[in-house]
Assembly symmetry: C2
């Protein structure tokens, strides 16, 4: 009977709505890393791509489009020649810093270093 009650309590639980929104965005490969590398200062597309080893041009472009439409990143076109496009965090994007730092220090303590190195992020 206690077993049954425990089951009922469990079956009622639903994922929190705010949490669902967070991971709708960050539960995709690369998104978190792109925000993380933009934290210190804006980057040009090519530099951003170099900063996230393994990401394809297409994937970076898609993720940036999502981040722009979620209001976390701003795209800035600088008239050339050469014409250059840089990306920076909005206030909302920059406001992720404390959460990302907490994740980072959690990883130091609880996620062993990847023996393959960060350049081989696997799917």
């Amino acid at each position: 009977m206690a077993e049954l009650r425990a089951h009922d309590a469990g079956s009622c639980r639903k994922v929190d709505d705010g949490m669902a929104r967070v991971f709708q965005l960050f539960g995709k490969r690369w998104t978190g890393l792109i925000v993380a590398v933009l934290l210190p200062h804006p980057l040009y597309f090519a530099d951003l791509r170099r900063a996230v080893p393994g990401i394809s041009e297409r994937m970076l472009s898609d993720r940036l489009t999502e981040l722009v439409s979620a209001g976390l990143v701003v795209r800035d076109v600088q008239a050339g020649p050469p014409l250059r496009v840089s990306y920076s965090l909005t206030e909302a994007g920059a406001a992720l810093e404390p959460a990302l730092k907490k994740l980072r220090s959690w990883a130091d303590k609880h996620l062993p270093a990847d023996p393959y190195g960060s350049s081989e992020l696997r799917k």
Copy 2:
């Protein structure tokens, strides 16, 4: 010239290794949500599936296997009948709570509510 230096500084930046490990795990659909719903207490597989609307049985099983092998989740088989399997967070998994709370409160402030509701998490 200043432009060039800025470019060089940018091109040297690399994503942080700990951050890469964090998002190697959480940059996958569902992983963060599964940890979040397990925070309050352990759940049986079926209850876990109900708590994360839209996840398939196969996907939940794959993600749990990854979380177990990363040391964040423990699988507990309770001899039956009926035989039941519950999942709970390890100390490392539970230690994510402060970071997840920060992400949650960030979402409240900066991520507008999903007009489709959490039951329609889109790819």
